[in-house]
Amino acid sequence: MEIILALAIGIITTSGVWLLFRPRTFQLAIGLSLLSYAINLFILAMGRLRMDAPPVVDKAVPVDPAAFADPLPQALVLTAIVISFATTALLLVLLLAARGLTGTDHVDGAEKPETKP
């Protein structure tokens, strides 16, 4: 379980970072999305991995902390997902605007940095 999760985070992060350094804006957007998936998994892992344990405490029975998963990382991940969703949407709009205004999908707005006006 741990090794699978660790590998998954590692592979997604590597792909994300590689895409982040590519010159096309679409690659940038995908790279950032992949990175945010990896980070969300990472946050979840930092709350310790638990299988088959509920995060919500039932008031009726006496509470034993060992029987529950840590709810906080799950709440954090939710917030992080919403925020990265919003910023990625904004980034996509910006990519389209940049493509329309500069006529290229290069991140610097020109095909080769040397030929910049």
Binding site: L20, L76, T87, L90, L91, L94
Partner: protein, 541 residues
């Protein structure tokens, strides 16, 4: 809980509600929106002044506000102490002046300027007030999301290109922020900053290594915001492309990163935090010195006023980082004074750039051009030509506008270069005084820092003098430049605030000294958050 205690959450709720209200209103009701925006900002300023007065009382303690009255380490807490109150006031004054300036023309350049502007201030205020790391992240994101919109305000190719880089860098940085938070949570089991400061001294071994890596990754996010070399290359182009009032408000945004570093280094890695104490101080000093060097070179190389302003932000960030890294309350006192004066100076300068460049533009500045350099390297040739043109006149009448702009420019130059009698000088003097006291511990680094502070000031003076001569003294055959009252008033107000800072330097420095001392004594802060029983107003609702 007395109603006055709820004042603490007003700096977040007021702009939120006002911005929401503005989204409902039609974009054509411009004056109504302006009125809402300005009155909200005025109210924010009043709240900030009230909090500042409460905090300025001798022996005052930080006040915590628990949302929904949940018990402290679990609930979302807002905390105001001397530092937060001071920065709230700074943010409100800069916001009010920039927003007023925007009425001249910029709020018509695109939709929803005022709503985004208020949301930006909400994020900034929230970041200054929040008592836990995750909400710091959330408020950072609120601030950034609004700043993306504002950086793009007015559209255009230059802005889109600069914003693309800005947005991409900040999204990546936010992810690092999350990694840092996750690592800190994994090792300490808490994200409440007061709780953190109590748990960190108990850590050791592997956990300590993990915690320090978490904090280091977290700091990268703050360093990017503050523009530390080599993480600050995005700053100058983005700020240069942004509309004038937006860039002026962004001046406070780079200080949010500095604030977070001050808060964390004092609370979590202060002298009382056991093995983790001061683990990043050498990094802060090295990074700060590199940033100052980069800013100084950029300052001398800048061919446009926006370049000078961007480099000045870098220099001031560098100075502040070094001052925090020195880890002495005396240096921090000066640093806080420097923070306030340099933010006001940057704000005034960004507001001033537009009218000055318009006045220097031979077309009379119908359209503020972002792409053209304000002056070129072949300036002497142009100078000679212009002089021959003007030969048939006997002397040149200095128009009132140029006189006004020129004096504002000179004040800005003195402020930024740190020359007397303006607060820039007092701030540098206070930092240097603190450094001299801390010299026994800092040895060679102290002297290098002293030299860097003085050299960067000299470079600022050289760059500003050169730009001022070129833009304001060179006679150009141009129609009468015009400066609108709406533009002149906010610049005047910001500069007047700086003058007030000089006149009230004694009490101001006293307040900042108290703020710096209490930062290095986090017990009161943790007490206010974790043991609210000590406080008179305990019960809510």
């Amino acid at each position: 809980m007395p109603p006055a205690a709820h004042l603490l959450i007003a700096p977040i709720l007021l702009p939120l509600f006002a911005a929401a209200l503005m989204l409902v209103l039609n974009e054509r009701r411009r004056w109504l929106k302006r009125a809402i925006s300005l009155s909200t900002l005025a109210a924010l300023m009043a709240v900030a002044i009230a909090l500042l007065i409460a905090m300025a009382a001798p022996g005052s303690t930080p006040v915590a506000y628990r949302l929904g009255d949940w018990p402290a380490p679990f609930a979302i807490t807002l905390v105001v102490d001397r530092l937060s109150a001071l920065l709230l006031l700074l943010a409100a004054s800069i916001g009010l002046c920039s927003s007023f300036y925007a009425i001249a023309r910029w709020d018509r350049a695109g939709p929803r300027f005022h709503a985004l502007f208020l949301l930006l201030l909400m994020g900034v205020n929230g970041a200054f007030l929040t008592g836990d790391l995750f909400n710091l992240f959330v408020f950072f994101e609120v601030m950034l999301a609004a700043s993306y919109g504002l950086a793009l305000h007015g559209a255009g190719v230059e802005r889109t290109k600069a914003s693309l880089h800005y947005v991409a860098i900040n999204i990546a940085t936010s992810l690092l922020f999350l990694v840092g938070i996750a690592l800190i949570y994994a090792t300490t089991g808490t994200l409440n900053m007061a709780d953190l400061s109590q748990r960190i001294p108990m850590l050791g071994g592997e956990d300590l290594v993990l915690l320090e890596s978490g904090a280091a990754i977290l700091s990268i996010a703050f360093f990017v915001k503050a523009g530390m070399w080599p993480l600050g290359f995005w700053l100058t182009p983005t700020y240069a492309a942004a509309a004038a009032p937006v860039a002026a408000t962004f001046a406070i945004m780079s200080k949010v990163g500095i604030y977070a570093i001050i808060r964390l280094s004092a609370l979590a890695f202060g002298p009382a935090s056991g093995l983790a104490a001061g683990f990043a101080n050498e990094w802060l000093i090295t990074g700060g010195l590199a940033t100052m060097a980069f800013g100084t070179i950029g300052m001398l190389a800048a061919s446009r006023l926006t370049g000078i302003a961007g480099s000045y932000i870098l220099i001031s960030s560098g100075t502040l980082l070094v001052a925090i890294g020195a880890g002495s309350p005396f240096v921090l006192t000066g640093a806080l004074f420097y923070l306030v004066s340099s933010t006001l100076g940057t704000c005034a300068f960004y507001l001033l750039i537009e009218p000055v460049e318009r006045a220097a533009d031979p077309d009379g500045g119908a359209v503020p051009s972002q792409a053209e350099p304000a002056f070129e390297d072949d300036e002497p040739g142009r100078l000679a030509e212009d002089e021959s043109d003007d030969e048939d006149e006997i002397g040149i009448v200095i128009p009132a506008t140029i006189a006004l702009l020129g004096s504002a420019f000179i004040i800005c130059a003195l402020l930024m270069a740190g020359l007397p009698p303006l607060p820039g000088f007092l701030a540098k003097f206070a930092i240097i005084d603190g450094l001299l006291r801390a010299l026994p511990e800092m040895a060679a680094t102290g002297w290098i820092t002293l030299a860097a502070i003085l050299i960067s000031g000299l470079a600022t003076l050289i760059a500003m003098t050169r730009a001022g001569i070129n833009l304001l003294w060179v006679p150009v055959d141009r129609p009468q430049a015009h400066l609108r009252v709406v533009e002149a008033v906010p610049i005047g107000v910001v500069l007047a605030l700086c003058l007030a800072l000089v006149i009230g330097a004694g009490p101001a420095l006293g307040y900042m000294k108290a703020a710096a001392t209490s930062l290095y004594d986090p017990v009161r802060y943790t007490d206010a958050v974790l043991n609210p029983a000590h406080q008179p107003e305990e019960r809510t609702r």
